[in-house]
């Protein structure tokens, strides 16, 4: 781009051509910015490129999950309650990518308030998987993943509370990285479960994820839970290292993560990947940690409890869906706004969360779940002292058909089994495309040590290079590559 600044306009033209062609079929965006607006931003970047003052993301189009606040750009959380909400401020990650001259192409579809694993819980419309439009793209950051997979955007930001970056990355053949809790500021991310939410990149390559994460990470004075990054060099350096093969690491597989509930097609694909790694000199060991089977209920208790609290603020008084107050008491208005504004799954989680925090149940559920969470964290950290990474299939299943999982919430929650661990423990985790089975992508997950995204990126780049699937492009847009 620096060599040929004019390419930025060509690139935008091409992207809008693709969008024109596929957006109706997959529906990645809740709010797509007009080409004119994007070109206006591009002109500014163009002049910067000419002057040699452009940032590291000059000319990069980025799709933003619709739960990340963008100043002046509608941010709905895929909920009717925020359908017309326009934030008066930018999330810290948005400020950071703008400083590097990225251009936002639009705000992507998601499960309402990030509650779901398929992007079917959007209040507006479901997003479809570009590999097979009858199938879900995963969620909750479904629109961000499909935008990248279907070439509607070069990169995207998603958020991950129990797998919401990694699940759609796996289902659409993208790289998705959930950073260490605290590495990326949550300021401006509309909270679902505050103790687990993290923003991260969804990209086509590990290198792109490294670049985006490098830019959005680091201590933020607006987020008391944010942390200083500790790796001395830019993350792209560690990606290059991995691509060169200049890495050495060990992997452990937990039997609980490839056992019951994992589809056989996924399991055999995972085993093929493991064998490839071993063939490339990676030491893989197997072990078992029974406590893992409590991860899912623990995750859902904590997530729902926090959600019930975080979502209390939506009452229609200061912003969002409004109800006339004429002749009504405030609590009638609140009740009306919340009944009309929240979808079924959101209501379910608020109710369950309220229940587990209630006097008399708090100890039995929330306090106990917090203790199990600590045990899980300790268990994983201990394991990660011995091995560099825990590996698993990202998702236990191939992308389900629309409507297949959503009918039964427990069946839906079950597919988060392998992803929630990293959120409970606050550890970084990545999903790398590892296979295409029956025309559907499969993702390979690595969980790494806290704040060691440098190691995670190196290993991932190495794995990406030995699996060598790229370019991984769904058939519907293959002609554009």
């Amino acid at each position: 781009m620096a060599d040929n600044p004019r390419y930025i306009f060509e690139y935008i033209d091409e992207t809008y051509e693709v969008i024109e062609k596929v957006e109706d079929k997959i529906r990645s965006f809740i709010t797509l910015r007009s080409k004119e607006d994007v070109l206006r931003d591009a002109k500014k970047v163009y002049s910067k490129l000419i002057e040699g003052k452009a940032g590291r993301l000059a000319g990069v189009l980025i799709a933003i999950k619709d739960n990340i606040s963008t100043k002046g750009l509608r941010t709905t959380c895929a909920s009717k309650i925020l359908e017309d909400y326009i934030p008066p401020y930018d999330a810290t990650v948005i400020t950071k990518i703008k400083m590097e001259d990225a251009i936002i192409i639009g705000k992507t579809n998601m499960d309402e308030f990030a509650m779901g694993s398929t992007t079917e819980n959007s209040a507006f419309f479901p997003t479809r998987n570009p590999w097979d439009p009858n199938r879900v793209p995963g969620g909750s950051s479904g629109g961000s993943a499909t935008a990248v997979a279907a070439l509607e955007s070069l990169t995207a930001l998603g958020s991950d509370t129990g797998g919401s970056i990694r699940a759609p990355a796996a289902f659409t053949g993208c790289v998705g990285l959930k950073p260490t809790y605290g590495l990326v500021s949550r300021y401006g991310l509309i909270a679902y479960a505050s103790s687990m939410d993290q923003i991260g990149p969804i990209t086509r390559t590990v290198m792109d994820s490294a670049l985006i994460l490098d830019i959005i990470s680091g201590l933020d004075p607006h987020d008391a839970t944010s942390l200083e990054k500790r790796f001395p060099k830019p993350l792209t350096y560690y990606a290059e290292k991995g691509y060169r093969g200049d890495v050495e690491f060990s992997i452990v597989v937990l039997e609980e993560m490839v056992g019951e509930g994992v589809e056989s097609a996924v399991r055999s694909s995972f085993m093929r990947t493991i064998r490839k790694l071993e063939a490339n000199g990676i030491n893989v060991e197997w072990t078992s940690r029974p406590i893992i089977k409590y991860a899912l209920p623990t995750y859902y208790i904590i997530a729902m409890a926090e959600a019930s609290s975080n979502l209390a603020r939506y009452d229609g008084l200061r912003y969002g869906l409004h109800e006339s107050v004429e002749g009504r008491s405030w609590y009638e208005v609140f009740a009306k706004v919340r009944s009309r504004g929240f979808g079924k799954e959101v209501k379910r989680r608020i109710l369950l969360g309220t229940y587990v925090l209630s006097a008399g149940y708090y100890q039995a559920y929330y306090v106990r779940a917090s203790k199990v969470r600590r045990l899980i964290r300790d268990t994983l950290n201990l394991l990660l002292r011995k091995y560099d990474f825990i590996a698993s299939p990202t998702m236990p299943v191939l992308p389900p058909r629309l409507g297949e999982r959503i009918v039964d919430p427990l069946k839906l929650y079950a597919i988060d089994i392998n992803t929630v661990l990293a959120n409970l423990a606050g550890l970084p985790a990545i999903s790398i495309p590892s296979d295409v089975v029956d025309g559907l992508p499969v993702g390979f997950q690595l969980i790494g040590n806290e704040l060691r995204e440098d190691e995670l990126i190196s290993a991932s780049a190495f794995i990406e290079s030995i699996i060598n699937l790229a370019p991984l492009v769904p058939p519907m847009v293959r002609s554009y590559v």
Partner: protein
């Protein structure tokens, strides 16, 4: 009477940390008063989606000062808790507070304040101290909730740092409650944590029970005077119910200033469940010994120490010293400032406590307005006039009354001639008059020297207190002697 019925009062006092520059969790100004509605706000204190709280560390230091001054045990770790309830003035529909329960810890527990009641010392125990955020303010455009067809909300106050100080139910009477709050306010003022002069800076809720009956919570108590009235009303109300064999309901009542009564708050259909849980946005904060030591080393002189010093340094009685310090730090400061300029500590202490406060009270004036009128310059003018014999003690009292009530300068009063009459001839004339009018008193005085005072009093009355009492005495005694000689 209330003593016999064993009244138990516990207070919950909300104190704004007015010494801070910014709010508790964002960088909006802490000085919200007098600003146009909803202009002192940001995404954080409006609870906008995605916003996050960041703790103002100065607030923690201020809270530690208070904990140390109240002899409380400081928690080794500070954990904020979300307290959930839906209310329009609460932007997130939960308040970031602290809670004494599993997974949570208030900044300090225990402690006590000593008060002096009828010459006795009494200990009021503190249960706990919390740091929490103030909600916004509901504005009733037509004065009260019942008169206003709609309400407005001003979030300028939202997120202001509060301390919630909760006592054990050790308070036995409305007067003790007032003394307690006064003492607490004086401690806070001495610490420099709170300026009690600011409207709404100190707000009190009370829990009252009589005998073993249910307790009743009273909210919305606006001032110290209201506190005493509301408690007295509530004790009488509950006692009457008990005496007539009724049952006191456990409820929340509001103090209605205009009706001088407590009235039931809207009955809740359900018991409030606040669903406390640790706020995941605010990591637990270790309170290190070194931080506590740092705060301790910077503690200023506290009221109890100051009272002792006043007794030692100025020779004041315990009573005068306590009133000066407890009534308000500003009063104690006024005392010391005046003494520094014109000495006479005992006289000045007595002038302030016995005269100034009395007239401020009678005129229903704000203490600070009273102190503006009777400032150190005027105090020293009055002291000088007394010492130079321009006025008598009796006139001095009259001066203070007029200064407080009419905001008049002592120089004016002197100019007006409100001074001691030292004119011998004039006094002789008045004495003549008195001797003519009160013959029998004169006869009494001849037999009983104590009866002389009556005659002196009459002369003072006729001169409207202005005659120099020493001179009057001399003249009357001389005249009596002369009379004796003629008999």
């Amino acid at each position: 009477m209330s003593r016999e019925l064993n009244v138990k009062i516990g207070l919950e006092i909300h104190v704004q940390i007015t010494s801070l520059k910014t709010k508790l969790f964002c960088s909006c100004s802490a000085d919200y008063r007098g600003k146009p509605p909803n202009t002192n706000v940001c995404p954080v204190c409006l609870g906008l989606p995605g916003s996050l709280p960041v703790l103002n560390m100065k607030a923690v230091k201020e809270a530690l000062k208070v904990a140390l001054a109240l002899n409380s045990a400081i928690s080794p770790v500070l954990i904020f808790t979300r307290k959930h309830y839906f209310y329009p003035d609460l932007p997130k529909n939960y308040q970031i507070s602290q809670y004494d329960g599993i997974g949570s810890a208030p900044i300090a527990k225990g402690g006590f304040i000593k008060i002096y009641i009828n010459g006795n010392e009494k200990i009021i125990r503190i249960r706990r101290i919390n740091i929490e955020e103030d909600p916004g303010r509901i504005v009733y455009p037509f004065g009260s909730i019942t008169k206003s067809p709609y309400t407005m909300i001003d979030y300028n106050r939202s997120g202001i740092a509060l301390l919630e100080i909760v006592t054990e139910p050790d308070i036995g009477s409305p007067k003790e409650a007032r003394l307690f709050v006064q003492k607490l306010a004086s401690i806070l003022e001495h610490l420099g944590v709170t300026n009690p002069k600011l409207e709404g800076a100190i707000r009190v809720d009370a829990n009252v029970s009589v005998g073993d009956h249910e307790r009743v919570e009273i909210k919305n108590i606006g001032s110290l005077r209201d506190l005493e009235k509301a408690l007295a009303y509530e004790i009488a109300r509950q006692s009457a119910i008990i005496k007539s064999g009724g049952k006191v309901l456990r409820e929340t009542r509001h103090w209605d200033k205009t009706r001088n009564a407590t009235v039931p708050a809207r009955l809740k259909e359900f018991e409030e469940d606040y669903r406390y849980f640790p706020d995941p946005d605010l990591p637990a904060l270790r309170i290190s010994r070194s931080l506590i030591e740092e705060v301790k080393s910077q503690l200023p002189e506290l009221p109890d120490q100051r009272i002792k010093r006043f007794i030692r340094e100025y020779g004041l009685s315990e009573y005068l010293a306590s009133v000066l310090v407890i009534e308000s730090k500003a009063l104690a400061d006024l005392f010391e400032e005046s003494v520094r300029v014109c000495g006479n500590p005992k006289l000045i202490a007595s002038m302030l406590v016995n005269e100034m406060l009395r007239w401020i009270d009678e005129a229903d004036l704000d203490l600070h307005e009273g102190m503006k009128r009777f400032n150190s310059v005027r105090i020293c003018k009055v002291v000088k006039a007394l010492n130079e014999g321009v006025i008598s003690i009796k006139l001095l009292k009259e001066y203070i009354k007029q200064i407080i009530l009419k905001d008049i300068d002592p120089d004016e009063l002197i100019k007006k001639g409100l001074t001691v009459v030292v004119d011998k001839e004039l006094i002789e004339k008045v004495v003549d008059e008195v001797f003519r009018e009160f013959r029998s008193a004169v006869m009494d005085a001849l037999r009983n020297p104590k009866a002389v005072n009556f005659l002196v009093g009459q002369v003072m009355r006729k001169t409207r207190g202005r005659a120099d009492p020493k001179l009057v005495n001399e003249i009357i005694r001389r005249r009596l002697k002369e009379l004796e000689g003629t008999r």
